[in-house]
Amino acid sequence: MTTKSAAILSADNNLLLEEPLLRLPLEVLRKIFKSSQRYIENDGKKLTELARDAGAKAPQVSQEASLESLNAMITRMQTLKRKMETLHEEEKVVHAQSRKRVSHLNDLHSLSSLLEDGYESWSKIRLDRFMVDYMLRNGYSNSAKQLAQKQGIEELVDVDVFVQCWTIEESLRNKKTTECLAWCAENKNSLKKIKSTLEFELRLQVYIEYVRERKLKEAVTYSRKYLSGSCDTHTTEFLRASCILAFPPERPGPYKALYAEGRWDHLVKTFVSTHHSLYNLPQEPLLHVALAAGLSSLKTPSCHSTLSTRHNTACSVTSLCPICSTELNELAKPVPYGHHTTSWVDHDLIVLPNGRVYGTKRLSDLAGKLGLDSGKYRDPISGEEFERADVRKVFIS
């Protein structure tokens, strides 16, 4: 009945949830690299221009003036160097962090069985990481930081990225678009690559707010500046948006949706999902994925049974099922229960006169521990005592 194969640990199978662990630092690394590219390109261009100017003007201007322009170039060059060094430091941090993460995943590869102690401690760290991930995604950043620090897993979680994400989310919830637009500008190229409509939607919202306040002149100027450019790609939206100039919020006519408060929630959702896809993060907390799968595979028809067959705690020979426990019982209600093709029961089953079935050894062990008379059994769940002569053998094929 014992399925040995079920205990074999395949590290690769256990890595299904671990991609973000290495993926996110890679995206951060890419970002750092892109900034360095931008710095070198921009400052290089500017500095060669300055050099050209200085060279051209040199014959006409005083030596002091020439020195001054040279000094300006030096200052700019120093700033560039400093900026590059900062990026290099950040890069080193990400490298070190990735190394820690790789070695954490390697720990898993050195295990061969799910029953080893090593797997348990690895799995405990995984739960801690997932809880931190869950907390960060829900904006509980202090809890997340405390937990990460206490468990010593700061290198394995991404507090900064999520805190930034949450700050922008909150600003959108407070109907402010500035932070989110700044983020869009920062990630312009990546957003273009995935054909994100986030920036257009944000601009549209700014415009709608102008119209809502009946600042029509500002609305038109804004639309001309930021929306008209997208009128090819977002023709319908652009036309509809233009129409609301004629329909004030009190009488929105067919444009109720554009004035709707729900648009802000929509913006928050769009931002978060865009943010997560840019960083290659799953849209759902990892805890949800693992927990949903776990609840279902552990759940049995008995876990929510209305009959009192549930294992209770009245006796030390029964162990309490995690799905039956108060912590998860309610949560597991809507999920389907696990599928089984073979029965899983104790050896040498006997049925007590009250209809309850137990393994013979379980009952005799219990009777021994309780110091019962040798002719008796006690039902560990109901507490009733029965004569051993009254039990019957049960056959489960």
Binding site: L26, T48, M77, A293, H311, H339
Partner: protein
């Protein structure tokens, strides 16, 4: 993992990072500084020096840009190594089953934090998550006691645990646990073996004072413990070698204490959140495969109340007896419970009815020659 490590090495030590570009920029900076020194020392050199700068800077920046190819390629290769490793990843496996159940998940997390003794974090969490109906404060206090007794056991102090167990002797006894006796036994063995021979009377006095109430149930054990005195110097060679106390006895006493403590609170000893996420991670490959098939067939598994395939889990994740009717191959439920027929074989209720063709007539057991009436079958509880 090796491929990933190799690429990572190249990023850190192999120079596929920004250090080379920084050196190039530094050279440009030096060049500018040199130009300044030249001009300051020899004003007549001002014009030619400045006029040479543009092309010098251009070359310098070209070098810096070229040096970026190192990190660019390195990052790309590292990314490819990740792609290869994680090709079966579960990125968009949204079961959605837990999407709107935040309060319940929060409570489960709060309980887990308390169980692990992270009281401060639990407090911060409750505040941040705005938990109103979370874990009752009674439990909070209980968990603090649990944790402090566990800590004292880790420091090898038995007294708080013994006091706890003594107060709950009746409850523990009805659970048929020998926790209290085991705590005393450990204390006795410590007194006997950790002191000098002069301490033996102390150990015996302890035994006399404490073992009294356990005489009836644990007579054999107690006489063995008494026997240990004789073998004090060479217990490992004695018939009582199994009684030697070491680190693992402490470990197991902490475990059984935790189990009993939680059981009295009607909780499982292991954190359900931990067990469930671990089981989930083990089960995930099966779920992934299932999701792929479901997607291809355009069906959804949440619509049924049973998973379509069996998830292989180690036995320690099985908490309930499971009965699958050998005829219908269905798991029994409240509405289709297991029935024992007079010959002692067990079938699902629906199966019995089917065998009797719904008429209540006599039918033969599918597993032995006996025949019986459907009304003779009785429901059993597994």
């Amino acid at each position: 993992m090796d491929a990933i490590e190799k690429e990572l090495d190249k990023l850190t030590n192999g120079g596929a990072n920004l250090s080379k570009s920084i050196k190039d920029i530094d050279k440009c900076l030096e060049m500018l500084m040199d130009a300044r020194t030249t001009i300051e020392n020899d004003p007549t050199a001002t014009v030619p020096t400045l006029q040479a700068l543009e092309s010098q800077l251009k070359t310098g920046f070209q070098l810096a840009t070229d040096s970026l190819k190192g990190p660019h390629g390195g990052i790309a290769k590292y990314g490819k190594a990740l792609d290869k490793k994680f090709k079966h990843s579960t990125n968009e496996n949204t079961f959605g089953a837990l999407a709107n159940r935040q309060p319940l998940i929060n409570r489960a997390i709060q309980m887990h934090l308390l169980r692990e003794g992270n009281f401060e974090i639990a407090e911060t969490f409750a505040k941040e998550a705005g938990i109103v109906e979370g874990v009752p404060s009674v439990l909070d206090i209980e968990f603090r006691e649990l944790f402090s007794i566990q800590e004292s056991l880790r420091r090898k102090e038995l007294k708080p645990a013994i006091e706890w167990a003594e107060k709950r002797r009746d409850l523990l006894e009805s659970r048929a646990t020998n926790l209290e006796f085991e705590l005393h036994r450990l204390q006795y063995m410590i007194l006997l073996f950790q002191g000098t021979p002069d301490d033996i009377p102390n150990a015996l006095a302890y035994a006399k004072a404490q073992f009294g109430p356990f005489q009836k149930k644990y007579l054999t054990e107690i006489s063995q413990l008494a026997g240990c005195v004789v073998w004090r110097e060479k217990l490992s060679m004695s018939p009582y070698a199994a009684l030697i106390q070491d680190e693992s006895s402490w470990q197991s006493i902490i475990e059984s204490f935790t189990t009993e403590f939680c059981a009295l609170l009607r909780l499982s000893a292991e954190s359900p959140l931990y067990v469930a996420t671990t089981a989930g991670a083990i089960a995930l490959p099966t779920f992934n495969k299932m999701a792929t098939i479901m997607k291809a067939k355009k069906t959804e598994w949440t619509s049924q109340n049973e998973l379509p395939v069996e998830v292989p889990l180690p036995d320690k994740f099985k908490y309930h007896s499971i009965f699958v009717c050998p005829v219908s191959k269905e798991q029994t439920t409240d509405s289709n419970p297991p029935m024992m027929i007079p010959c002692g074989h067990v079938l699902a209720k629906d199966t019995v009815q089917k065998l009797a063709r719904g008429t209540g007539s006599r039918y033969k057991c599918p597993y032995c020659p006996a025949d019986s009436l459907p009304k003779e079958a009785r429901e059993i509880y597994l």
